[in-house]
Symmetry: C2
Amino acid sequence: MLSTMAASELAALRAVYEPLTQSVRKLIDVTIRTQADAATATAAKDAIDRVTDELGTTLLEGSFGVQHTSDGQPMVWGNVVMGLRNPAAPPLIVHHEPDGRVWSDVVLGAAYEGPAGHVHGGVCAMLLDHVLGATAHKPGQPAVTGTLTTRYRRGTRLGCPLRLEAHVDRVEGVKTFAVGRITDPEGVTVEADGIFIHPR
Amino acid sequence: MLSTMAASELAALRAVYEPLTQSVRKLIDVTIRTQADAATATAAKDAIDRVTDELGTTLLEGSFGVQHTSDGQPMVWGNVVMGLRNPAAPPLIVHHEPDGRVWSDVVLGAAYEGPAGHVHGGVCAMLLDHVLGATAHKPGQPAVTGTLTTRYRRGTRLGCPLRLEAHVDRVEGVKTFAVGRITDPEGVTVEADGIFIHPR
């Protein structure tokens, strides 16, 4: 449970950085899809460089990492899959059910393309790694991937509602064996199983 | 071999869109790492939205797909791993050796984070999918992933020179069995094997 202080601190930080990140996500999409002429593209580049200079005067060293509110709540906001401050993240919103099942709904756009009109197979693997791994995570006890196997049944389309889901098959000591899949409105596109490890 | 026309057409398109994309890549990085105050973040958001509106007046429908120069050279510039017009792509530059080996050198920054200071395990899987798959690609005969297994030996650090490499283990009919790995200066961090299929 969040303390009142942490909750208002999180809300304040989120109000500053989430709209900025969402705007950069839209910019990524149009950067891929624009047919702008050279003059427009150059003017856009120059405007972006000015924003980057402005934001860059106060940078964290290295990467976002895991930061904490003043009373210790973790923020994994730089994460490439779920980070609300990472414009390259969809971001995935991961739901945990009381019975241990984990799921997430997402629509992936032009930024996630592999084969024309389809999600890159590697993106499917990336998102499944995250969702299967989430079945093994416990507060203060992150799990790391030991092995992940993805089996592709057919192409996963861009711009289509996708459900990612996973559950624990069994636990053996520090190892959690998880299984999961991606489905679109026509059924399963990718299946996965993985072993996730709580480092001793 | 590129015709002269295709080569100059590609160079012209690249000169327009590659600098723009590179600028958006830098913007992604600072968006994650900035400690800008609310006023600065809001001004940045507004400036970005203006650029997005400008670039968005001439959008391709859907996604970039595979486009072609006037004489048929393919451009996979929207690809999430190697697309030179995709700001979310590192982008990976994939080298093919005459003996069939495939390799790529890359340094991954804050945008690819999973565990603090480390590359997300799912990103490792995504990049290995791409590099292993590249061993099976032939001009006009793309291969799709059938199965991919990644085994994590230890964490892969952000900001560190990484080598991705893959080769064909064997070919059985439409199936190419490939193996590969990621190494950093201290050795192997992730190993992978996969089956890639040429659709009949």
